[in-house]
Amino acid sequence: MSENVLELQNITMKFGGVTALNEVNLVVKKGEILALIGPNGAGKTTIFNVITGVYKPTSGDVVFQGASIVGKKRFQITKLGIARTFQNIRLFGESSALENVVTGADVHSKTGVVGSIFGTRQSRREEKAALEKALELLEFMGIKKRAGQLGKNLPYGDQRRLEIARALATDPKLLLLDEPAAGFNPAEKVALGETIKKIRDAGYTVLLIEHDMSLIMGISDRVAVLDFGTKIADGTTTEVQNDPRVIEAYLGAPADAS
C-alpha cells in the first residue's frame, strides 16, 4: 500500500508572469483516493495538465511509477497508465457512447493501420477485446443502454459517466477525475461516490478534483489542499479538516463534515 504511484516534485508552472503552481509536492499512493481541493483558480486543473503532459512544468519533476514523465508526449503518458476526465466534458460528440469507450480501450491494441486493412488475426482479436471491455465498462458505469447513442445526445450525467468509462478503458494505473460530480444532485453524488470507491476497490488509484465537501469527506483516503498555486495541507480527511491554515485559507469557517 505504501508504494507511490505518482510523485510531483517541486512543480512550478508559470504562464508569462503568472505563477499558477509554486513548488508543489504531492504524492499519490497506490490504491488510494486522493482528493485535491482548493478554491477556484488554485491550480488544481493545472496540476492535471502538468501530469498528463498538456503543460510542461517550468521546473520540477513528475515521477510516475519510479520514472520521470516530464517531456513525454501526451499519448505516451496515457499509454504508461494515466487517464483523465475533463472539467468541461469533452467527449467525442459525434461518436456513439460505445465508440467513445472503445477509442479509450484501443490504447492496448498493437494493430496498426495495415493490420486493420487486412484484418489480421491479431486485429480481429484486439477489436473484439476492446469491444467487450468497452461494453463491460458501460455496464459498470450503468450506461450500457446508451451504447448506441451519440456522445453529444447523452443526458448530462451520463456524459460525465461516459467520460469515466472512457478513461477507465485505457486501464490506468492512475485515474484523474476533474470535478466528476459537477452539476449532480445529492443522490447522484452519493451514487457517484460509491462508483469511485468501487473503482478504487477494483485496484485503481484515483486522484480527484472536487468541490463537494461531503463527497470528498465520504470517499477520500487523503486530501491535499491547494491555494493560490501552493499546497497548504495534505493528510487524512480529519487532519485536513482540523488544519487551521485550511480552515482559514480555503473554508474560511470550520468545515462541515456531514
Binding site: T52, V54, K73, R74, F75, T78, K79, A83, R84, F86, R90, F92, G93, E94, S95, S96, E99, V102, T103, G104, D106, V107, S109, T111, G112, V113, S116, I117, F118, G119, S123, E126, E127, A130, K145, G148, Q149, L150, N153, P155, Y156, G157, D158, R160, R161, R166, T170, G183, F184, N185, E188
Partner: protein, 354 residues
Amino acid sequence: MADMKSRLNLRDRGAEYWERSPKWRRVALSIFFIALCYAIPFLNNPLINTPGSDFRSVLFYPVGMYVMMAIGLNIVVGKSGLLDLGYVAFFAIGAYTMAILGTKTSLNFWEILPIGVALAMLSGVLLGTPTLRLRGDYLAIVTLGFGEIVRIVAVNTDAIGGARGIAGIPTPPNFFKAKFTILDPKPYYWLLLTFTLLIIWMVRRMAARRPGRAWDAIRQDDDVAQLMGINTRRYKVWAFVLGAAVAGVGGVVYASQILSIVPDQFNLNVSILILACVVFGGIGNLWGVILGAVLLAFTPERIRFLSQPRILVFGMALVLMMNLRPDGILPKKKREHFDPDWHTVEESGEGEIK
C-alpha cells in the same frame, strides 16, 4: 415534422434496411450493384448519356477518376479533418511516374503501378511529417502551395518534358481478353472500377476499426484524442499517406490511358474539384462522397451542350447546394437507435441537471 423527416430520410432507411438484412441478402445486393457498375458502359440510356462527349470516356475520366480520388481525399479531409488543398500533387506524382518510367524504361504498367503508389506515399510522408502539426488553415495553404510547387517544378524541369509534358506513354499490356487501347475506354473503366472497389473495401475495414476510431477522435478533438492515448501525429500522417496512395493509383492509371500528360493538367482546380466532390456529397460518408463525385464529374459533361457557361453553372450549383444542404447531399448518418431494443428505453431524465 421530425417524424416526417425521418420517414423521408432515405439514407437512414437504407442504412437500417442494410443493417437488418441477413448476410445472404447483403451479399446478393452487393453482387448486384457491383455487376451493375461493370455493366454501365453497355447502358445506352439517353438520360445518362453525355451528348458532346463519348459516354464511355466520360465514365473513365472524369467520373471514375473523380470517384476514386474523392474516396482517397475523404480519408484525409472527411475522416481525419485535415484540409488538404493540394491533393492533385499526389495524382501528378503517380501520373509522372507512369509517364517517365513508361517512356524511359521497359517496365510495364503493372510494374510501374507499385512504384508510382510508393512514390506518392513517400511524398505524403515527406509533406505530412513536418506540416501536420500545423492548424487547419495553415495546413490548407501549405498543401495548396505543395500542389502548385509540384506543377511548377514539372513545368520548369526540362528533363521531364517541361511545359510540353510527356507523350507516348505506353498502355497497359493486354489483360486476358481486355485490350487497352486509346480507342476503347471500357477496359480502363473496368480497371479503375476494380481498383476503386478494392479501395472501398479497404477503407470500410479501416473505418470500422481502430484507425477509423482514431481519425474520428482526432477530427473531433485533437487534444482529447492525444490524452486518450492516440498518437495523433502518426495517424494524421497515415491518413495523408493513404490518401496519397489512392491518388497515386489514379495518376498511374490516368497517364496510361491519356497517353500524354502536361503539367498544367495538374492544377489547383483539380484539387478543389475533388474537395468539392467530398463536401458536396456529404463529408465523411463514403457513399455520399461517391455520389457527390459522380454528380460533380458527370453534370458538366451532361450539360456540355451548354458549352461555354457549364463551369459557371457548376460554380453556381456549388453555392446553391451548400446554402441549401451544407452537410452535403448524403451526410454522415447520425447512427442511433438502430438496435430495436433501444427504442424501448425510456428517457429517464436522470442526471439532467442544468
